[in-house]
Amino acid sequence: MRARAGGPADPVPGGSAADPGPAGAARFGNPVQSLLHSYPSLGPFAVLVLACVVFDLFNSRFLGMANLSIMLQQVAVVGLLALGQTVIILTAGIDLSVGAAMILAQMVMAGLAVTNGCPVVLALAVGLLVALLTGLVNGFLVTRFHVPPFIGTLGTLGVFTAVGLKYANGQTLSPKPGSFLLWTGKIVTLGSFHITVGVLMMIALYLIVGYALGRTAWGKHVYAVGDEPEAARLTGINTARLLLSVYLVAGLVYGVAAWVQIGRVGDASTDISSTLNLDSITAVVIGGVSLFGGRGMVLGTLFGALIVQVFQNGLALAGVQDLYQQLAEGLLVIAAVSLDRWIRKVRS
């Protein structure tokens, strides 16, 4: 089949190999621009491959199975947060509360299981519900009260953070060894590859969300609402309901991220990197998903998250100072957004 890679006509992530070629190739003056327009994940993919090759030149351990395994384990949480973030950004929204929502969910999961002695499955379910609730709050702010997503989620960032801190009360909660809460951290060995259940969960969710975006009417509507909300409304799409569903999906994904985070660290505390919010947005933007909505795919986000991870890991292995990692990340974001603006010019 002949799919246009930029949009929902796309196959599920990983399936694009079957495509004979971009439908719109050579429709614009500049072939590179046209190619990137048709395949927005191509840019991040090239950067990822290039970065891997370069870092491997500096340190031959870089592309070893051990290091690749570690990088995948490290990318799982941000990768999941970026996945939820992608769906929201595709509707031209943004979620600044993503990290706070995840921390709140993991504190509830661990708190119920460890402090209150709830059955773990129940604790997990309630934690996922709390994550869903954070999505519901954000979704209501955007659809019912017409608060711009940037402002609405800036507000809920404060609220979720405060509720999380209050609930956690400064504790670090460690589930008993063998607890189902830690299952996401269990190592799965595939040959000389050692990944965790959490990594597999991340991959599964990318496949599911990628499928929903690329192969269902819901996905088409996500792109349509992100691209031209008024046109989508006039076409008969219930835009408010669609946006609400998007924030709910994102919330649920953050809930899974919370579980993966507990498994990875082995305990739950509010004392996690405060850069999670921005890291998720960074991954999405580097992954070629347009902040203006309607353009991009989750495969690109996965590449984006991996790029950030590869840079952090590779620069650390090469013995480069922290500040240069941040510099590199910042430059990548600027480059990605500039590239997006350039690619979007074909529209006019």
């Binding site: 006509a9 439908a23 719109g24 088409k220 031209e228 046109a231 076409t235 008969g236 799409i237 309607g294």
Partner: protein, 268 residues
């Protein structure tokens, strides 16, 4: 103010005793302090092409938005086949078989032509893939979209998988017209469908309107193009200052008459 020419309240049957397919009575719609509609009436009879003309800002687009669920009037009633109807969303009007080409062209640039045609009415795969996994039948939609476009004789749209953003303004308009023509089952409303079109494409849309009319489809055509209006319309609704100023017939009135009524220089 010119209210003397208002015909009796709808849904008055016409001379032949027919009930209007779509009618409106006393529509009022304000945007802030701007009164776009101030008690507008409207009637569309079965099988006719009704042109709506009027100066810029006369309330033509607002009128058809109220008829198609894109805007909800502040007061007034809608009648579908003589029965009260209440469209609060475009989806409700579409479900009733009313398809509209909006002046602002409600197309989605990032999606391809086929996806645009089927947006909001997607076809799912047969069997569990469709019911359980909700998988779209992209191949079927493309095939049918191609058939629709061929049947409608819209030659300017070649590659159904082309993203709409790569199309020219006229081609985009053709996509919107094709969608309305393909799926309108009761009424097709066209708000300035030829505004961005070249001479040849305008001619194609005019042909398309004739063909739809020959199939018995009632059509509302908003246009500033008087020769086209007088060629295609069975009746002409003249909108002025948020109201219907008159309904005239190309058979009994000239273009000069129409313009004079439109500008308030005279009444019908």
């Amino acid at each position: 103010m010119n209210t003397t020419t208002n015909p009796p309240r709808p849904p008055a049957p016409d001379a032949a005793g027919r009930t209007p397919v779509l009618a409106a009575r006393d529509l009022v719609k304000s945007y802030g302090r701007v009164e776009a509609l101030r008690g507008a009436d409207f009637e569309l009879f079965p099988g006719e092409v009704l042109a709506v003309i009027g100066d810029n800002g006369a309330g033509k687009s607002t009128l058809i938005k109220c008829l198609s669920g894109a805007a909800v009037p502040d007061s007034g009633t809608l009648l579908l086949d003589g029965a009260p109807a209440d469209f609060r969303t475009p989806a409700q009007a579409k479900a009733a078989g009313i398809e509209t080409v909006y002046q602002t062209l409600a197309v989605t640039p990032a999606l391809d032509i086929a996806s645009n045609l089927y947006l909001g009415r997607e076809i799912r795969r047969k069997g569990p893939l469709g019911t359980l996994l909700r998988m779209l039948d992209t191949a079927a939609m493309r095939k049918q979209a191609e058939e629709h476009i061929k049947r409608l004789g819209i030659a300017t749209l070649q590659d159904i998988t082309q993203p709409v953003e790569t199309l020219s303004g006229g081609q985009r308009q053709a996509v919107a017209v094709a969608r309305a023509a393909a799926f309108g089952s009761k009424v097709v409303i066209l708000d300035e469908p030829t505004a961005a079109l070249g001479v040849r494409e305008s001619g194609q849309v005019a042909e398309l309107i004739k063909r739809l009319r020959d199939h018995g489809m009632p059509i509302v055509l908003i246009s500033h193009d008087m020769p086209v209006v007088f060629e295609l319309a069975d009746r002409i609704h003249v909108q002025r200052l948020g109201r219907r100023a008159a309904v005239i017939s190309p058979a009994t009135h000239s273009m000069e008459d129409a313009v004079a009524i439109m500008t308030g220089a005279r009444t019908a």
